[in-house]
Amino acid sequence: MAILDGAAGHLNTVGYIVLMMIGFYAMTGKSNLVKKLVGMNIFQWSIILFVVSLSAKRGASIPIVLDGHGGDAARVLDAALYVNPLPHVLMLTAIVVGVAITGVALALLLQIHRQFGTLEENELLERLRTSTGS
């Protein structure tokens, strides 16, 4: 585990990479299309968690000004007191778009199942080959 010594300051990144490996293996190694979709979601969440973890800052609070409204709006805030809001914004939209992607993928899987009666990749290839050959 000598390789982990260099990663001592950001061990959470190693966790996200392990999560990504699980998703990657499910996407490539499994032959069921639903399992591939689940793998894609795990992969996506590992990336979302990684980008959100980039926004962390020691000793900082959530990026919301507590007494902002009605207070002295013109004051300059100290950047060290609030975590980075930018990754939150990007991942907020990525999560919702991910749900839309999952919906489209499930719709495609339903149509595939209606057309071919199976979601196993090798059976699908078999059926495609026989239908184009005849």
């Binding site: 950001h10 990144t13 980039l54 930018l86």
Partner: protein, 94 residues
């Protein structure tokens, strides 16, 4: 075949871990991600937009065009599911 996928996954993971060794420490206030764009948002978003929640300020004001694109993506997703499955207006059209 399974072994090949397992080897590919492990090699990818190890390469990614090796590549991540140079990343800044988690929570480091001097990390590049915390020093380039975000101080500008944190310091002046309240003054410029009058909104306390910086995430909302960046989402809807500074990057409003980006959010418009995201909403269009969700809209397109709903339309795509409707077109793939064709159930939406079945009863109404009759």
């Amino acid at each position: 075949m399974k072994l090949l996928h397992l080897v590919a996954t492990t090699v990818t993971g190890l390469l990614l871990i090796m590549g991540s060794l140079d990343l800044a420490e988690t929570g480091d206030p001097a990390a590049p991600a915390a020093t380039h764009v975000s101080p500008r948002y944190i310091e002046s978003s309240l003054e410029e937009t009058g909104v306390e929640n910086m995430v909302t300020a960046v989402l809807a004001d500074y990057r409003g065009f980006d959010t418009l694109g995201e909403v269009t993506v969700i809209f397109t997703g709903a339309i795509a599911v409707l077109l793939i499955l064709r159930t939406g207006l079945k009863e109404d059209e009759e």
